[in-house]
Amino acid sequence: MSFIPGHPVTAVVQRIEIHKLRDGDNLILGFSIGGGIDQDPGQNPFSEDKTDKGIYVTRVSKGGPAEVAGLRMGDKIMQVNGWDMTMVTHDQARKKLTKKNEDVVRLLVTRKSLETVVRQSMMQH
């Protein structure tokens, strides 16, 4: 997940589909995000590279739609419904996730364990 400016970012991602839960007038997903290009990347406890300004999942509420779908704390969100999340501000990320007319959000998330699993499986061959 290291980022070299000017080079495309490659990562092993997992597709997660979250169905939003209707709670009165709100549609909730059940997790919290942190990060963004307007935020301070040094205080992100989940990122490996402390200059990474991506959007990270900081909290997953128990039993919520996100946990059910397989989202874990510390995941970095790369795309939301096709929209890029690696170079957005915090507010833009929030907006993309909480669109009122969408019931389902399809995320591409990445985490360190994905990469190690893939590498291990490749080494076995």
Binding site: I28, L29, F31, S32, I33, G34, D38, Q39, D40, Q43, N44, T58, R59, S61, H90, R94, L97, T98
Partner: protein
């Protein structure tokens, strides 16, 4: 053996009390010798001709307290072999007597005499220039009017200014006796002499021989001489006083016995002048030299050496045993000592912790005792003047009245911190009277006993070693250079001085617009979706 070191008995039992602080005043003045500090024992070297050990070889082990005048009768020297036993102090005393010859004083007086003669010659020359024509050919002189009188006044005042300036710069008591001549002063004296001689030469040839009648010209000549002398005086100020003010070198001075270090910034001086400056600062900056503090490390070192003995079994080497062990033997000894597992570090650690605890306990008792003692007296108020004269005391009596209550605690504390030889009962009472007179608090009174101050703080008789020796590889009149090292040795210790050049500092400027100080918050928000 000839070179045994023996223990002579006058360390403890020669009628000298531990706490008191007697100096052989006579011996002090006569010999300028240093005052011994008290230690456990005293080693004296038995010397039988020819001496096998160097004369001042065991210099670091200092002996006992000051020379008792009756030491001749009261010593019980347990010597092994000979009847002639000279102790180290005797040897040092004798060698110093030889040094302290009349020659040194003669040099100083010669200098003073020469400079006075030069000064007189220089001062009287313009007057001579003015007066000689009137004496030698008064009738042929053309009288000159107001212009000359104006010039007379200017000569008079310039001479007065020159006199005052020379008095201010040169007529000061010398602060130190330097081993070699002061190069700049010698150069200046030579310059002045040449200058005045050339003026006299010109005067003699052109004016005296030809008996010039133009008196105004002669007066102007005299005025020009005085002007030039004032300029030479300006040169003297610049060379002698101003040039070394700008700091150029940083000198690091370390005392050889305990490693106390100070740094001084000096200008471009010769080595001997730098030595004088350092010594003047030594008395105020360095804590007083206390040989009693060094005995602990020496005893540890002695234990190390005593652990392993090397016996030279091949051939004669009795006298050389101390001086020269073969290289291989010494290396073997060092290697064996390193391998041996001794626990002296353990001892040191616990000993120091114990000592620390003891010092703190004694200090606490002392502080309480002194504070209590100070509460017993107070300054007499105005309205109490009617008290009977028996009750009213002057500071000395007041000090003597409250001294006994704190004496014991103070004595014990001084003994624990090994300072008891630095303070006599007399000096403590004087200090107490001084503090009482000046309304000082008990803490202020104790400060001089709780911390070891610089040598200046103790009495004048504690200013050991006014005789210093400058040891240097470069010539002592040469200037300081980066990397110059020299030693200042006195009898008990030496000061090692190293020189470093202060680097050239390049300063750049950077302008900051006051309006450019702007700040933003570091955001770190977390939103739940």
């Amino acid at each position: 053996m000839d070179t045994e070191s023996t223990y002579s008995g006058y360390s403890y039992y020669s009628g000298r009390s531990r706490g008191s602080h007697r100096h052989g005043e006579r011996s002090r003045d006569r010999h300028k010798s240093r005052i011994k500090e008290s230690s456990r024992s005293e080693k004296s070297v038995t010397i039988n001709a020819p001496p096998a050990e160097p004369l001042l070889g065991d210099q670091s082990v200092r002996g006992e307290e000051v020379q008792d005048d009756n030491w001749g009768e009261t010593t019980t020297a347990v010597t092994g072999t000979s009847e002639h036993s000279l102790s180290q102090e005797d040897i040092v005393r004798i060698s110093k007597d030889l040094d302290d010859s009349v020659g040194l004083d003669c040099k100083r007086y010669l200098n003073v005499a020469l400079s006075v003669i030069l000064g007189l010659v220089v001062f009287l020359t313009p007057l001579a220039f003015l007066i000689l024509p009137h004496l030698l050919w008064p009738d042929r002189l053309r009288a000159c009017g107001t212009a000359c009188e104006g010039l007379y006044i200017s000569v008079a005042f310039k001479l007065l200014i020159l006199l005052l300036a020379v008095w201010a710069l040169f007529f000061r008591p010398p602060r130190a006796g330097l081993p070699r001549i002061f190069v700049f002063r010698a150069l200046l004296a030579t310059l002045v002499l040449l200058f005045v001689l050339s003026y006299w030469l010109f005067y003699g040839v052109r004016i005296l021989d030809s008996q010039d009648e133009d008196y105004q010209g002669i007066v102007q000549y005299a005025v020009s001489l005085v002007d030039a002398l004032l300029f030479i005086h300006y040169l003297a100020i610049v060379l002698l006083e101003l040039r070394q003010l700008q700091p150029f070198f940083s000198l690091c001075v370390t005392r050889s016995t305990d490693g106390a270090t100070q740094h001084y910034n000096l200008g471009q001086l010769s080595i001997q002048r730098a030595a004088v400056v350092i010594l003047e600062n030594y008395y105020k900056d360095f804590p007083v030299h206390n040989p009693a503090m060094l005995t602990a490390s020496k005893s540890r070192a002695a234990k190390h050496l005593a652990g392993l003995k090397v016996y030279n079994v091949d051939g004669p080497g009795g006298n050389n045993a101390a001086a020269g062990i073969a290289q291989s033997q010494s290396r073997a000894m060092i290697a064996a000592a390193a391998r041996r597992r001794d626990s002296s570090h353990n001892d040191l650690y616990y000993e120091e912790a114990e000592h620390e605890r003891r010092v703190r306990k004694r200090k606490a008792r002392l502080v309480v005792a002194v504070e209590e003692a100070f509460t017993h007296i107070r300054r007499m108020q105005e309205e109490e003047k009617k008290k009977a004269p028996g009750d009213v005391m002057d500071p000395r009596e007041a000090a003597q009245a409250i001294f006994p209550s704190m004496a014991r605690a103070l004595q014990k504390y001084l003994r624990t911190t090994r300072q008891q030889h630095l303070h006599s009962m007399e000096s403590i009472q004087q200090h107490l009277a001084f503090c009482i007179t000046n309304n000082m608090t008990p803490k202020a009174f104790l400060e001089s006993y709780l911390t070891t101050g610089p040598t200046l703080q103790y009495g004048k008789d504690r200013w050991l070693a006014r005789q210093w020796t400058l040891i240097s590889e470069a010539s002592v009149t040469s200037g300081l250079k980066d990397g110059t090292i020299f030693l200042l040795k006195c009898i008990d210790f030496s000061l090692v001085v190293t020189t470093k050049k202060i680097p050239y500092i390049k300063l750049d400027e950077e302008f900051i617009d006051p309006k450019s100080h702007k700040f933003v918050l570091r955001l770190q928000s977390e939103t739940s979706v």
